[in-house]
């Protein structure tokens, strides 16, 4: 990643963090608030592939962990897994399709919250499985699906495209076969 891309990505992190810590924390339905930081690894996975998805997920997670009372590093762990997973799952798909970011955000966010709760419970925080998990999963997944396209534009502006990064390209997609 170039210095320019890193600087742009830093701005995107700051924007997401500011919105999360100000506007989003005030939006509460049944005591639950959305979490847009999860969108970063999802859209980075789509735009930049599994490697960059994992790195963005790790950094976004660490930044989130600074403001969360849950174990430090847990968001980073789940974030890098999510970024890699989304990147790997979407590598063979048409990444310009408009339906892809909302669908990936819906499924990815739901999986993130579930894995987060289970891993948190394993790491000595059993109460993380006793919260209203269904409400958290639905609210976070739906909100992120709605916000996925704007997030995609922002991350696409920041990250260099690397649609086949780290993944063996098929003869067709690499342009060998036409």
């Amino acid at each position: 990643m170039t210095a320019r891309a890193a600087a742009r990505m830093g701005l995107v992190f700051l924007l997401f963090l500011t919105v999360q810590q100000t506007v989003i924390l005030d939006i509460r339905l049944g005591g639950v608030h959305p979490d847009i930081m999860i969108l970063l690894p999802i859209v980075a996975g789509i735009v930049g592939g599994p490697g960059r998805g994992a790195v963005v997920g790790f950094v976004a997670g660490l930044v989130s962990d600074l403001f969360l009372p849950t174990p430090f590093g847990l968001s980073a762990l789940v974030g890098c897994l999510l970024g890699f997973g989304v990147g790997a799952a979407t590598v063979a798909l048409d990444r310009t399709a408009r339906w892809l970011p909302p669908l990936a955000a819906l499924v990815g966010s739901a999986l993130y919250e579930l894995i987060y709760a289970v891993l948190g419970s394993v790491l000595g925080q059993p109460q993380m499985l006793h919260v209203d998990l269904a409400r958290i999963v639905v609210l976070v997944a739906v909100t992120n699906a709605v916000l996925a396209l704007p997030a995609m534009w922002l991350v696409a502006w920041a990250l260099p495209q690397a649609s086949t990064e780290g993944v063996p390209t098929s003869p067709v997609s690499s342009g060998v076969l036409r």
Partner: protein, 279 residues
């Protein structure tokens, strides 16, 4: 670059990141490194605090303007003036009710009878928790006002929780309803009975552990902090009242649920007791 090496790179990146995350989590769970992460969190909270205030200052008027615009568009021209007046009066009524409620809570905080001679610092609740997985609130006082880690926090009615993160101008309080919270309490009858109250999550009642089977408990009975040697709260602070109590067949302890005395879902003001548990 050969395709096989290129295909391995993201997996290697992931492996490194997973190992880094697991290392951070493991080290944070241990005492020494936790101080570092706690310090970093404190620095981040202090650094971000002005940004949060500035953005809140910008967003609030915009939100109010948008809310007002929705009303304006919906009414006919001849009713606009009347509607405005009604809206204005309603807003005034709401702000008055809000101000009265705030004043009630603040007055209650200033004269907490159970605090005794312990020194307190009143604080406004600035944020209702940053995670959906933990019951915490942020308050507007911190180390600058003498607030330290593990200090008890009380509100109108009784115990609210404990400081788990103390920054320069703010602090995070873990509520007694959080799943990680446990409070040593005493109740009677029988006189001097002891139990431990544990949180079940935000908005949920507390659960009592170690209550012997068939203990005669009645709804509304008050449990107060025990203040035993090594306790994390000073004694005599009301915590919760009994909501239900029953003993199952062959149960080793009575199943008791309790309602926190402080209204934890509408906290506006709290008081930090300048008391740290004996180490």
């Amino acid at each position: 670059m050969p395709a096989s090496r290129r295909s391995r790179r993201p997996r290697t990146t992931l492996l490194v990141l997973v190992l880094a995350s697991v290392s951070i989590i493991t080290l944070d769970a241990r005492g020494g490194f936790h101080r570092i992460t706690s310090g970093v969190r404190s620095v981040a909270a202090d650094a971000f605090s002005p940004v949060r205030s500035a953005v809140d200052g910008v967003i609030e008027p915009v939100g109010n303007f948008l809310a007002g615009s929705v009303h304006y568009g919906a009414v006919r021209q001849q009713n606009q003036l009347l509607q405005q007046q009604i809206d204005h009066l309603k807003l005034e009524q709401r702000s008055q009710a809000d101000a009265i409620e705030r004043m009630k809570q603040l007055s209650a905080i200033l004269g907490l009878p159970f605090v005794g001679n312990l020194q307190t610092v009143p604080a406004e609740v600035t944020n209702y928790g940053t995670s959906d997985f933990a019951a915490t609130v942020d308050i507007g006082v911190g180390r600058n006002e003498g607030v330290q880690l593990n200090m008890p926090v009380v509100g109108a009615g009784g115990l609210v929780g404990q400081v788990v993160q103390a920054n320069h101008g703010s602090a995070t309080v873990r509520l007694i309803t959080d799943g990680q919270s446990s409070v040593g309490v005493t109740f009677s009858p029988p006189p001097g009975s002891l139990a431990v109250l544990t949180g079940q999550g935000s908005g949920k009642p507390l659960a009592a552990n170690l209550v012997p089977p068939n203990t005669p408990l009645t709804p509304g009975q008050v449990f107060t902090t025990s203040g035993l040697q090594g306790a994390i709260y000073p004694g005599g602070i009301p915590v919760a009242t009994v909501r239900s109590a029953r003993t199952g067949t062959n149960a080793s302890q009575e199943s008791v649920t309790l309602q926190p005395l402080a209204d934890l879902t509408h906290l506006r003001y709290v008081a930090v007791i300048l008391w740290t548990p004996p180490s």
